[in-house]
Symmetry: C2
């Protein structure tokens, strides 16, 4: 059987939280590391953020932890509309996505859409871009694709 996804290595687990500072503090204590400073995602004019095809002023406060075999990302939604805020409203706090790093972003997005898992949100960050896939109905978690330059 041919895989739809070109990789099977989970590079990141992303959690939606209401208070990034409080949750970062809890993980820092669990892991015995310093509390990371959160960063704010860029504005739409920089990040070209699109949610369901439309530009959005949604942003998020992010904090990252380097675990042994992947990265943990804490996401506090700011503004809206976004997949982050939608998740918080529907499910509450919890794991929003698992991320895979891909080289062929456009082909991967197209292949997943052909399997009934369309793009829900995309954006750019310094050094790359991300795409969230509306895979919850089939996979019970959102997939994030990351393409780094």
């Amino acid at each position: 059987m041919t895989a739809t996804l070109s990789t099977d290595t989970v590079v990141q687990i992303g959690l939606i939280v209401r208070d990034v500072e409080a949750t970062a503090q809890a993980y820092a204590e669990l892991l015995g590391v310093a509390v990371p400073q959160w960063v704010l995602t860029g504005p739409e004019v920089e990040a070209h953020t699109r949610c369901r095809g439309a530009p959005t002023e949604a942003r998020a406060k992010l904090a990252f932890f380097r675990l042994g075999n992947l990265q943990l990302e804490l996401i506090e939604p700011v503004g809206g509309p976004s997949t982050w805020r939608e998740f918080l409203e529907v499910h509450g706090e919890g794991v929003h996505h698992i991320a895979f790093e891909v080289e062929d972003m456009q082909d991967q997005v197209a292949a997943l859409a052909a399997k009934g898992m369309p793009l829900v949100q995309r954006g750019d960050y310094t050094g790359g871009c991300y795409a969230y896939i509306d895979s919850g109905e089939q996979l019970k978690v959102i997939l994030e694709l990351l393409a780094n330059d």
Copy 2:
């Protein structure tokens, strides 16, 4: 700062699903692998399953995928009460836990309880035992500790 957890490697991501066969089929297509056969957890008399300290006849249908750097576990709750069923009722389908393999199970459970994250469910399986930690309030996801013989 001293870590509460003795490891930072995520060995498993566990998802609660309503239909393990349908979700296993979706992941098999995504990853280009054969659909794994689900297995039923042992009865209480074998698995010594305890939920909030009391024996429970809760069981689950499990299916596993080996990804590049960790294991994906699909969990369909059967019977109750269990942390699996509670999660489904509160959050719906989605990521229930991230798992870490530990050698010092009793010490780890005690250390987490001392930090306000008590044991919520435990059980045995062939070759080891598991403990779910009620860490949702602080960490926004349940921790599972796995100790293999």
